[in-house]
Symmetry: C2
Subunit: 315 residues, 2 copies
């Protein structure tokens, strides 16, 4: 990947995103035995790094394409990201969502003026519905993780982090669809001579870990994890990057994810979503790997349902 492409993307998306702060915590450094630098994409517009990829993807379209509209299928953060990026750029956005998606997710999309098209809750229905909108509206399809412009947009979080902390030994991200870790790996490869990239993945949906082992894209058969943003699998655009540039993927158990999430909430006083706690859980699980290292962690998002938290409930 050409360094200029990454820098151009950074310049392109800058007016449409927050340059998020990097927070540190002496308590968590002591806990981990490493120096941790948390890149707070939970403070990003619409609450997640996905804004970066969505903005870059729409900005990369021609005016003619923008005039026709965009479409994606997502019930998560990418739906909100496309809606908000499109709104800011005066582009019509269609969001295909399963009819049983939670109301809170639908409301978030509507608040950014995305138009929701409901479909049955199967991958086939989702793709068929999105395809129908491409055909009828001339909409350009945007994939949440497996598209070059999205991956390159996502790279800008790591680029900012390395500008602020050029001496990082490692950057960790969660691994879901692969779009964030691939972008991060491109950035670390271009902008640091030494920084490796490591993923954190729930043991229960460890498709990316197995993909790195087998050399081909693996999938999951069950999806039982609290880290609901990480239930997807890698794609043909991001897997080659991950295979070449990602150093390792560390798997963590559900209770380790919740404990890492609790520590960040209690000690740092910031709200992160479960998926976002996975890389920190990986650091705590495998402390020897990170001992005394300078460790960047991309806190990917902060969209949680406050009515449904994993901490022990009122008695």
């Amino acid at each position: 990947m050409n360094r200029d492409i990454l820098l151009q993307a950074q310049e392109r998306v800058a007016p449409y995103i927050h340059r998020t702060p990097v927070l540190t915590s002496q308590l968590l450094n002591d806990e981990a035995g490493a120096k941790l630098y948390f890149k707070c994409e939970n403070f990003q517009k619409m609450g997640a790094f996905k804004m970066r990829g969505a903005a870059n993807a729409i900005l990369s379209l021609s005016q003619e394409e923008r005039d026709r509209s965009v479409v994606t299928h997502s019930s998560g953060n990418f739906a909100q990201a496309v809606s908000l990026a499109a709104l800011k750029l005066g582009v019509k956005a269609y969001i295909v969502m399963p009819e049983n998606a939670p109301d809170v997710k639908k409301e978030a999309v509507r608040s950014y003026q995305g138009e929701i098209i409901e479909c049955e809750s199967t991958p086939e229905a989702r793709e068929a519905t999105a395809m129908a909108i491409q055909n009828s509206k001339g909409a350009t399809f945007l994939h949440p993780s497996n598209q070059d412009e999205v991956i390159i947009g996502n790279s800008t979080a790591a680029t900012e982090l390395l500008e602020d902390y050029p001496d990082l030994d490692v950057i960790l991200t969660p691994v879901g669809g692969g779009g964030l870790i691939a972008g991060t790996a491109l950035s670390a490869n271009e902008f640091s001579g030494k920084c490796v990239v490591i993923g954190g993945e729930p043991m229960n949906v460890d498709d990316a870990y197995r993909s790195l082992k087998s050399g081909k894209i693996e999938t999951n058969t069950s999806f039982n994890t609290i880290a609901d943003g990480l239930r997807t699998h890698l794609g043909d655009r991001n897997f080659p990057i991950i295979k070449e540039l990602v150093h390792d993927i560390i798997r963590v158990e559900e209770d380790e994810i919740i404990e890492a999430m609790r520590l960040i909430w209690e000690r740092m006083k910031i709200i992160i979503e479960p998926s976002c706690a996975v890389p920190f859980a990986a650091v705590l699980k495998q402390k020897s790997t990170f001992k005394n290292k300078e460790v960047g962690i991309i806190l990917s998002g902060g969209n949680v349902d406050l009515k449904n938290l994993p901490f022990e409930q009122k008695v």
Copy 2:
């Protein structure tokens, strides 16, 4: 109050505290119809502004006094603040707490090496126990809110905020024992030609509101508020300052406090405690007062029990 005294306090406490960030949110600005600047004392060491007053009070003692120890009675943030400030300064701290104080509060004090002395859960027992320690150990008593050095230490949050945003029209704080709002009023009076100070107080414990009306220190007969840091009343050191320099106190209902807290958690992705949401609730309640104004809000603390949150529970 002499400007030099406030500036000296700022210099004195600086090595022992965080200069906390000021966050903004376009969404909350839109909601309020004003420009809001949130001074994040929830990110302060031990999680609350109380660290400022405790540090300044201990730093103001002679070496002989420090060698003898300090004592306070508190089951809240001031207990942690005194413990941590004393630990950093090599001073022994005794913390008088009611025997029925929650374990989580006791553990927090112990984690900062404060020595807990338990007593019965009455004001009389609390004061008698603290007095006994003053007598037997020669400990200096530190009051959570009604002591000049504590009030002056607390002023440093507003001083920092006005350094960052000199054009503020108003600064809001919660009102509990009066130590934060008094310090804030001293600072605004010295460092701004126009900035007024307004308090937010729960309707259910509106002693400070009534005190301003009657001109004497009023107390509460019931203490039924989620804002557990605000159940105390004003004192003879801070009330004269408040009477002279505080512009107004706005009272809010319990549901308004919870809604303000939820908005800050959801939109800003930061954790604040219920007491801390009261000034923002006041802004939302009385929008016309703040319309298009530059409004500083001191987010006083972020110590919450994640197992016991006021948001609607899991079904």
